[in-house]
Symmetry: D2
Subunit: 365 residues, 4 copies
Amino acid sequence: MGNTFGQLFRVTTFGESHGGGIGVIIDGCPPKIDISEAEIQQELDRRRPGQSKITTQRKEEDRCEILSGVFEGKTLGTPIAILVRNKDARPEDYAEIARKFRPSHADFTYEAKYGIRNWQGGGRASARETIGRVAASAVAKKILSIVCPESEIVAYVAQIHEIAAKINRSVVTMEDVEKNTVRCPDGAAAKKMASLIEQVRVDGDSIGGVIECVARGIPPGLGEPVFDKLEADLAKAMLSIPATKGFEIGSGFTATRMRGSEHNDPFEMRAGKIRTATNNSGGVQGGISNGEEIYFRIGFKPIATIAYEQKTVTASREQTKLAARGRHDPCVLPRAVPIVEAMAAIVLCDHALRQKAIGSPGWSE
Amino acid sequence: MGNTFGQLFRVTTFGESHGGGIGVIIDGCPPKIDISEAEIQQELDRRRPGQSKITTQRKEEDRCEILSGVFEGKTLGTPIAILVRNKDARPEDYAEIARKFRPSHADFTYEAKYGIRNWQGGGRASARETIGRVAASAVAKKILSIVCPESEIVAYVAQIHEIAAKINRSVVTMEDVEKNTVRCPDGAAAKKMASLIEQVRVDGDSIGGVIECVARGIPPGLGEPVFDKLEADLAKAMLSIPATKGFEIGSGFTATRMRGSEHNDPFEMRAGKIRTATNNSGGVQGGISNGEEIYFRIGFKPIATIAYEQKTVTASREQTKLAARGRHDPCVLPRAVPIVEAMAAIVLCDHALRQKAIGSPGWSE
Amino acid sequence: MGNTFGQLFRVTTFGESHGGGIGVIIDGCPPKIDISEAEIQQELDRRRPGQSKITTQRKEEDRCEILSGVFEGKTLGTPIAILVRNKDARPEDYAEIARKFRPSHADFTYEAKYGIRNWQGGGRASARETIGRVAASAVAKKILSIVCPESEIVAYVAQIHEIAAKINRSVVTMEDVEKNTVRCPDGAAAKKMASLIEQVRVDGDSIGGVIECVARGIPPGLGEPVFDKLEADLAKAMLSIPATKGFEIGSGFTATRMRGSEHNDPFEMRAGKIRTATNNSGGVQGGISNGEEIYFRIGFKPIATIAYEQKTVTASREQTKLAARGRHDPCVLPRAVPIVEAMAAIVLCDHALRQKAIGSPGWSE
Amino acid sequence: MGNTFGQLFRVTTFGESHGGGIGVIIDGCPPKIDISEAEIQQELDRRRPGQSKITTQRKEEDRCEILSGVFEGKTLGTPIAILVRNKDARPEDYAEIARKFRPSHADFTYEAKYGIRNWQGGGRASARETIGRVAASAVAKKILSIVCPESEIVAYVAQIHEIAAKINRSVVTMEDVEKNTVRCPDGAAAKKMASLIEQVRVDGDSIGGVIECVARGIPPGLGEPVFDKLEADLAKAMLSIPATKGFEIGSGFTATRMRGSEHNDPFEMRAGKIRTATNNSGGVQGGISNGEEIYFRIGFKPIATIAYEQKTVTASREQTKLAARGRHDPCVLPRAVPIVEAMAAIVLCDHALRQKAIGSPGWSE
């Protein structure tokens, strides 16, 4: 259980890092939407490892195949199944991990929960699982481009370790983000980040950071109080991404040190629309979008698998040491950027369809 | 939509702050569990306003009535419906709000989404909605006490504005928390907080802060990868509470400035069990509990309704000013403590039942 | 679990026949729909017992109260909670049933499943539970009247024991149905049915029959292949009504004795629309409505609780005999007519909203 | 939407009759259950066409591949994805159908709903979709064999057109069923049925019938009132199978002509257990299994695609005639037997896991 996300745009992922393949079924996609393997592949290529020396050297082609739900380039309204074959398995890389629990990885908890695990790579806990999410997001973005034609989602690295970037979230574009391998649109900060990541790789260590995501052009009215508030579903979506430890929207934890008179976003009329003068709310009030920019930040821990020697125990409960081999990212954030975008698109698409069902004419139009 | 939470322990809340009443239906509660209105009332009394001068002066009795699902003091396995009548309505308090959107409140977004709203109080967006959640949590805690007999959930105020408390989360008890009206177990900090809140009330302003919650004694194995990871469901639960802006588990955003070699929690054998030497993970690895303390922090913004005069617009789109009247909390955190606990109990109970269904014998036993 | 029905128009019922009350929460109702307690009461009055000598003499007022979700006569888009208090409890009527399992009733299976049951009346298994469904259907019908303005649902008694009625399902109206207490629009048959039911009452026995339901004016396109086919959801809805044993749509079991060349409904153009010349399909093809009349039949068994002495066992597993006392319908069908209509309306409303979400442009328009 | 079935054992199918492939994702399968491609293939082979001259001559190999969720022959607790490639496409067979709506087929309704359809074969409406269900049932049966070790599900053809078989449902085995190509364990009737089917094929026509299914050894307590009654979920499952028009459980429509005193199943003590003397209930009372045989009947219409020339309209709304070419079953029932069994197994497995979650102590044990 737990492998399906969304109410109307329902994404079910499957697959371990090793085995037949990884993929997704999308149920609830409206019919007659143009979609091609090439468009999905483009999204997948952004999350693929092996793109530069700062990410893992594992070489995967990750070619996607649409198995169903699309006919002559258009969606049928039936489930869209997308498959990416696993390749490049080197089980010998994982021989040691088969017996020793990696500290802070999912090895131990999968054993505790299931009494069994695919020890080849991370199995189901591998970040490779997110291929299905990213593939689904290509479809979600297409739907959003129809239902919310003004919408645009951009994610980027905002901080690596102590290096914080300066980014104007209202104007930053995906092109800005893709300019460098760190996916940080602040060029100066990006350079420092790249050096630090390379240093950490040499050290056999890993490093965390913050990804920020902004969704512009989302109309007022998305979000379903009380439990499926837009920020609640975004929080769940983001915390379901491997290696995440925190989520904040709008002013976030900074709000905890503010007074209402500073924090409140005064309403004003602008270009004939009700707008807010500031945006501490992060585009969401009472769980519903208010038409302003939706922005949020996700905290990533340094990933668990490191070459650095650590204390741990074996599956047979003996104390031991482990220095992981294999190809691992020293810093997962550059590759996580498209995953954050993907989950944001899936959440917004689902809520857009939910809102369509109850047919709000939209008070503010 | 969006008023149901949980997969097996399903909580559906209903009710506006004004109107017939507020309540909840719990579906999926196992049979033959002892529960009484008195036990539910005890939980409700903890979240009730009017308990001290630092919280809202609105006087509500909030007497709960079990309408169904319980017979001769025991659950029947059928839906448990609990109702709390609304009383003490003073619509005149809300006359101004009927026309003017409160900045950063849900007034505007509800109008934008639904084209209609109950302007008396916050309607559905009122914190009064959480009565249903707290009532349900009394049942969830009972189930947890059977399924996870060692379990214990304690929440407390960890920070108000700039005042941070010092609390040993491994030993803090609910009694410690209830010692003062701020619900901060650090007595010295609590005093400062109380003074600050009183000052803010006098100013007609409001103030935010942080609540921390710890769940001890949760066995390994709870949480359903990949989307229903334990931290993902906790994040959603917490961000569904009014006035929340952020969530972090374990090391949280601090992890973003750490290296893997510092952050990883080494495994060790302790008292015959696999344990971690540190707990940056916050008791969850790969979305599944690892048997350590689960702890997380929730950031609350200062609440929106303040007496302070602010710029806003009217429902007919004219620029205006608003200084809210009525009885409002200057600081929601003391009353939010039992709500955080409630949502934590509901998430853990749901996952405990989900795990029961697939019957993991538990590798670590 | 199992007390919620529907995907977008979500109906959750609660309540036992004895205890605080019976009711329903409707989640997913669009905003700004006119609804009043009077309209809901009108539906409830149709299913109320005590209307004539052929139904149970139990006198219930069954006054409904809207607890939430409606403001100034209009839906808010928030959950609509409706409560009907239980009255007129006479536990002494049930003293014997507390110890002896009624043959073919739910007494034994509830004990087997839950290890506990509310033995006062049928508890949760009482037909009184359907109050919640009927209340919800008043809202569903309102939504249908907006989304499918041509739609009309009529149910009626088509057969009691061996007495079959002759009814033209294409023209029968609710007024025709309500003309007599049997709710059979064939007046001659109705008379015979009424006599038979009265005879069966005198015998202390009970009797079954068939209810037919027709939904006219449903546009093409409702139904979600493959599992949520319109006929599949109708079948589930109808078999969830107490005392039902069978469901057939269109030609039903008669189709099993036909050839394709007889059974197929040829398409033809009529008034500019694609129509079928015959309607063995019952308005549904491939799980999706085709614009023709949707009609189906539900088989009801004679109800279990009879005054007639029967062999049974006690809760302590001793052989015994039981002749039930109390007020029981000899024939449930007249009162089940509005329940069948209610469930049909709920299914169609849910599917209409689901179709709205994916935005059927409507090929045939 | 609508492509997922089950609450805890969740089956999501995908695929059209033509295109990349057909398959299923199973979410919620407990870990450490032995399963192999060979076992799944065995179930698939039973539903495969081309086995005899009485079924369609379309030659498909339908080799299944497990893509995920199984490691070294055991389930991981993660989603099990199973894929069967489509082969043997002959689009030219479908050229005519691309323009002309087959009477009583899903062609028109898919167009009406989605505005698009895969006209190659039945697309998503093809019976080929049931491959995913049958594959999933191999897993469901494995789980049932652990959770309900006494359980056994047998389905068989009980009637073809006017030919009714005589079968003792309490002793019939799958071996009896598989003895002949008609899958009717009454040898004499089977012979007549085979002749009739062959005759109908020669006529270019099709023919309907009834499949009966019995589940023995199901313990008391499965089924979730009120909406997810066992018979309600079975009814939905069966009516979701292509070409079905009716469902009845136990006495079914025969009950409509009975009195309570005849129909009620008296309780008696037998071998220390509470049993019923008769079984008109069909093993289900109040929506919950009572430990007796669960048996039900499903009415199948003659399939729509026939060589016989029929009146219809084109997609461009012109009156025309159609005599379908290609390879089509004159009678779908023999091949539908394993599909009925599959859906029964999926429903019972799901309810067994649901019951496990609420921990029935089992009153009757």
